[in-house]
Symmetry: C2
Subunit: 385 residues, 2 copies
C-alpha cells in the first residue's frame, strides 16, 4: 500500500458495531491507524482493545479512578473527551457507534472539523438531521452510512446524480413477530423480541426491529442522508434480508444492493470508500443457492411504531427527537419487563401527543426535547408499572 494509513476514531468501540469495525480494521492490515477509542461501561473490553490497537486517546463513560488508571495509567493513551477525539487532526474518519443522544456532540465536532463521519448511531441523525447536514455542508464534512439499508442506498447512488432519484425503498425483515398476529403482540416477551431472524445486533436495535420503529427511524435518517423528502421514501417487507434496500430513478430503473446480512460489509464500505477491497471475511451470497425473495407491504396497524415514526418525521422540528428519546426509555423498560411490547407504541404515541413541538429547533431545543421525552417516558412507565 502506498498511501498513508487512514486515521480512525471509533466512538462506541465495545458495542456490536464497534467490535465489528475493529474486525474490519484487522482484516485490512496497514490501512488504518486507530487514533481514539471510546466506550460506555465495558472497560474490560476497552482495555483489551486499547492493548491490541494502541490508540493515542481513550474515553469511557464509566471513569472512576480504577478505570482511568487501567486505561491511561501506564502512559499508553491519554484520556480525552469524545468531542476532542472527533476533531483531532490525525483523525480522518469518525466511526459513530455510540447509542442515543450521546453521539450528537462528537458528530457535530467531527463535521465541524471537516471529517467523514461513518454513522451507525441513527438517533443522532433522527434527532438533529438538519443541523448535522448543515454543519457538514458548511465545513466540508461528510456523512457516510453504516446501517445496512442506508449503505445499500448509498452504494446504489454511487455514480448517480441526486436529482435522478424518484424514490427510496427501504426493506424491512419484519422482525421476529412478522408472523405473530397483532392480537398476540401484547403478550410477547423480551426474550422473544430479541430473537431476530436475520441479524445479530445490539438489544435496543433488535427490539426496535421488532416494532419496526427502527425502520421509521431509518426513513427519517434516509431523508437527511440523501436529501429526499419522506413522501418519496417507502418501506417494503422483505423477509429474507438479502436485498438491503433499493433506489428507484426517475427513468423507471431500480437499483438494489444485495448481500449476506453481515454488518462488516457496510462498515467496510464506509471506511474504504470509494474503494472496494477484499477485506473482512464476509460470507459471499451464493446466487445459485439464493432463496426466493419475497416483498410485501407492512401493516401500519400491526407496526404502529412505524406509523408513529413517519408521523413524527413529517411533523419534523423536535418531534423526531422526542420519538427517539421516548423509545430509548420505553425499550429499556420493556427489556426489564416493566411494560408490555405494545406499550412501546403507546408510550411513543402519548409522548408525541403531549409534546409541544418547536419548529426550526436549535441544538438546545433538541436537547431539551430529548430530556423532556425521557422524563415523560419514565413517568409514563411508572404509572403503568
Amino acid at each position: 500500500m502506498t498511501q498513508s494509513p487512514i486515521g480512525l476514531a471509533i466512538l462506541g468501540s465495545t458495542g456490536s458495531i464497534g467490535r465489528q469495525t475493529l474486525e474490519v480494521v484487522q482484516s485490512l492490515p496497514g490501512r488504518f491507524n486507530i487514533i481514539a477509542l471510546s466506550a460506555g461501561g465495558n472497560v474490560t473490553l476497552l482495555e483489551e482493545q486499547a492493548r491490541a490497537f494502541k490508540p493515542s486517546m481513550v474515553y469511557a463513560t464509566r471513569q472512576d479512578d480504577y478505570v482511568r488508571d487501567t486505561l491511561v495509567g501506564r502512559g499508553r493513551a491519554r484520556w480525552a473527551e469524545m468531542e476532542e477525539m472527533a476533531a483531532d487532526p490525525r483523525v480522518d474518519i469518525v466511526v459513530l457507534a455510540t447509542v442515543g443522544a450521546a453521539g450528537l456532540g462528537p458528530a457535530l465536532a467531527a463535521l465541524r472539523a471537516g471529517k467523514a463521519v461513518a454513522l451507525a448511531n441513527k438517533e443522532v441523525l433522527v434527532m438533529a438531521g438538519q443541523i448535522l447536514v448543515e454543519e457538514a455542508r458548511q465545513n466540508g464534512g461528510e456523512l457516510r452510512p453504516i446501517d445496512s439499508e442506508h449503505s445499500a442506498i448509498w452504494q446504489c447512488l454511487w455514480g448517480e446524480s441526486n436529482d435522478a432519484i424518484e424514490r427510496i425503498i427501504l426493506t424491512a425483515s419484519g422482525g421476529p413477530f412478522r408472523d405473530t398476529p397483532v392480537e398476540e403482540l401484547s403478550r410477547v416477551t423480551a426474550e422473544e423480541a430479541l430473537r431476530h431472524p436475520n441479524w445479530e445486533m445490539g438489544k435496543k436495535v433488535t427490539v426496535d426491529s421488532a416494532t419496526l420503529l427502527n425502520k421509521g427511524l431509518e426513513c427519517i435518517e434516509a431523508r437527511w442522508l440523501f436529501d429526499v423528502p419522506l413522501e418519496r421514501i417507502d418501506v417494503v417487507l422483505h423477509r429474507e434480508s438479502i436485498v438491503h434496500s433499493m433506489v428507484e430513478f426517475r427513468d423507471g430503473s431500480i437499483k438494489a444492493q444485495l448481500g449476506v446480512p453481515d454488518m462488516r460489509l457496510p462498515i467496510q464500505c464506509a471506511l474504504t470508500y470509494p474503494e472496494r477491497l477484499v477485506g473482512a471475511a464476509v460470507p459471499k451470497l451464493d446466487l445459485k443457492l439464493m432463496p426466493t425473495l419475497t416483498f410485501g407491504v407492512p401493516s401500519l396497524r400491526k407496526y404502529r411504531c412505524l406509523s408513529l415514526a413517519l408521523q413524527a418525521g413529517r411533523k419534523g422540528g423536535t418531534y423526531p427527537a422526542v420519538l427517539a428519546a421516548a423509545d430509548e426509555v420505553a425499550v429499556q423498560h420493556f427489556l426489564s419487563g416493566y411494560i408490555r411490547f405494545t406499550d412501546i407504541a403507546n408510550a411513543l404515541d402519548d409522548a408525541l401527543s403531549a409534546h409541544d413541538g418547536v419548529t426550526d429547533p436549535k441544538l438546545n431545543d433538541l436537547l431539551a426535547a430529548d430530556a423532556w421525552a425521557r422524563t415523560f417516558a419514565e413517568d409514563w412507565v411508572k404509572t403503568k408499572a
Copy 2:
C-alpha cells in the same frame, strides 16, 4: 433544454429495437436529431419513419429503383451506406440495431470515428469483440449496451471501478420451455418457441432465448463490454425477468438492476447517459405488488446451446463467429420448419467441431469464418431435411 440535440444514426430502424428507439426519441422532444435511418427490407415502414423524423441519410438493404425513388426521390434524404452514416460528423451516437454480421462494418466505422455505439446487435460483439474493443480504445469510441442484461450490468457499474468486479451474474428467464422436460424439446414447434413468457422481441432472438444460446452470446458480449473473463461470468435462471442482471464486487457486495421488462428503458439509458430522464412511458415496477423473485441454476443438459456458447467463448478466436453465424442459419431453418428445435444445438455442435479455428483473427479471418459457418450450417440442414 440548453444543450444542442444529440445526433443519432439508427441502423436497423424498422426492427423491434429500432422502432422502440424512435419511441424514446419521440418521448424526449428536442433532445435528439435523427441524422440517418437504415433498414432491411421493410421499406414501407422506413418511408414512414423518414417522413416523421426527417433524416438526412437513408439506406435499405432492398434498393431497387422504386425504393430509392420513394425514399430519396423528392430530395428529402440522401442515400448513404451504413458505414458513411456511422462516421458522419453530425452523428454522436450510432444505434446498432441491425441483425447478424451486417452491423460489423458500421460498428467499426463508428468506433474509428470516435462515436458512441449503442449496441443491440450482439452478434457483432460476439464475432469481433476484441477488434471492436481495440478500435474503441484507440479512437476514443465507446460501446454502450442496449441489451437489458448488459444495460443492467452497466448501470450497476456506474461510479464503480472495473477492478472491483468479482463476478458478473446474468439472469435468464429460461424462455418458453423452462418447464418443458428435456425429452420433449425435440417436438416443440416454432410457434411455441416464439411465445416468450416475459419479453416482446424479434423472432431470431426469441428463439435464441428459448435455447439459451442468447444467454451464451450475452456472456461473450459481457466479457468484451466489461473486460471480465468468462470464468467470472455466471448465468442464473430468474423466471420473473425483474432483476435484469447483477454485479458482485470483491468486497462481497452485490448490485442488481431491476425493472419492468421493457426495452425502452435500456435504450433510453444508452441514449441519455450519464443522465436519467423521465422519458418513454416505461411502466414502473410497483414494489408493493412485486412478485416473488426466484433464482436457480440452468441445466446445461437441457440448455445445450448455452454450454456450446460458453465453450466457443472459452476457445475464442474465430469460434464465437462460427457459433453466431451457424445459429443464424439454424434458427432460420427451425422457424421455417425444416429442422427440429434440438437440431439447432446439433448444428452448432457439429459446426464448432468441424471448424478449424484461427487464433488472434483479423477481420478477414472472422468474415471468412462467418461465411464458412453459414455454408456449413446450410449444408447441415440440407442433409437433415
